[in-house]
Symmetry: C2
């Protein structure tokens, strides 16, 4: 896979959408390509979370036992909270079809984060935006909720 | 105010709860003490958000015009999302009584953030934790919501 393809997949993800492409080159260079067959467990609930994955192609099921929480596809991210906060995986991830993933290790990620203010600010912006959106959504839902 | 008091107020806030006291000394040293009378506007909705405040004592109303969104008191933080993502203030803040606040400027904050991995990791941990909690709460509310 070309470096530019890796940069573009990073840029298209929510977590790096606020970071300039030129800043993402260093990060793209440390992404590891992973090919997986269908029905392979990427990680299990409770595993230590020390990396995140970008889905280049294929689909991945996020589940808790038999209960499916989400199905993620092309350009989506798996496990981004765990890589940021080192908490254990809150759910399991299993491939539904053949997948090409890009793996980003926590340690290398933090090293780049600490030397690149733009990437850091981009990520903080994304996390804050998510909080703002979800705060607003929660407030609306609380108003609709008859049990409140 | 003593430096150690400033360290303790930082440590007691949600955003720095995951950071060791020793790491907070540098940050505490750049906090500016601000005394405000009751009924003073700290900032207005739409203002650029380039600093955050820790409430040492007193109470502050977060409001949108006449509509009160929250009343914040001792050890609580005002405007922490704006300082992280540079978005404009989403609500106004007005003192309800005499207040002693500690002001943290965005620029100085980022400088320290970029040289201190522990502070950075602590903040990311807090933001991710908030997202996890609120995600879970949203999911529960969505299940309760009859309009869903």
């Amino acid at each position: 896979m070309l470096l530019i393809e890796k940069v573009l997949i990073l840029k298209s993800s929510e977590i790096f959408q606020n970071t300039a492409e030129t800043e993402l080159v260093e990060l793209a260079a440390i992404l590891e390509e992973i090919y997986l067959e269908p029905n392979v467990t990427l990680f299990s609930k409770g595993d230590p979370g020390n990396c995140m994955y970008f889905i280049f192609n294929g689909t991945i099921k996020i589940h808790d036992g038999e209960h499916t929480l989400a199905v993620l596809g092309e350009n989506e991210i798996v496990g981004e909270l765990s890589v940021l906060d080192s908490e254990s995986r809150s759910a399991s991830a299993t491939t539904l079809e053949e997948c090409l993933l890009l793996k980003l290790e926590q340690e290398a990620f933090y090293e780049i984060l600490m030397t690149n203010a733009d990437i850091l600010k981009g990520i903080l912006k994304t996390l804050c935006k998510r909080l703002r959106v979800i705060n607003k959504k929660s407030a609306t839902m609380a108003n609709l909720n008859p049990l409140k």
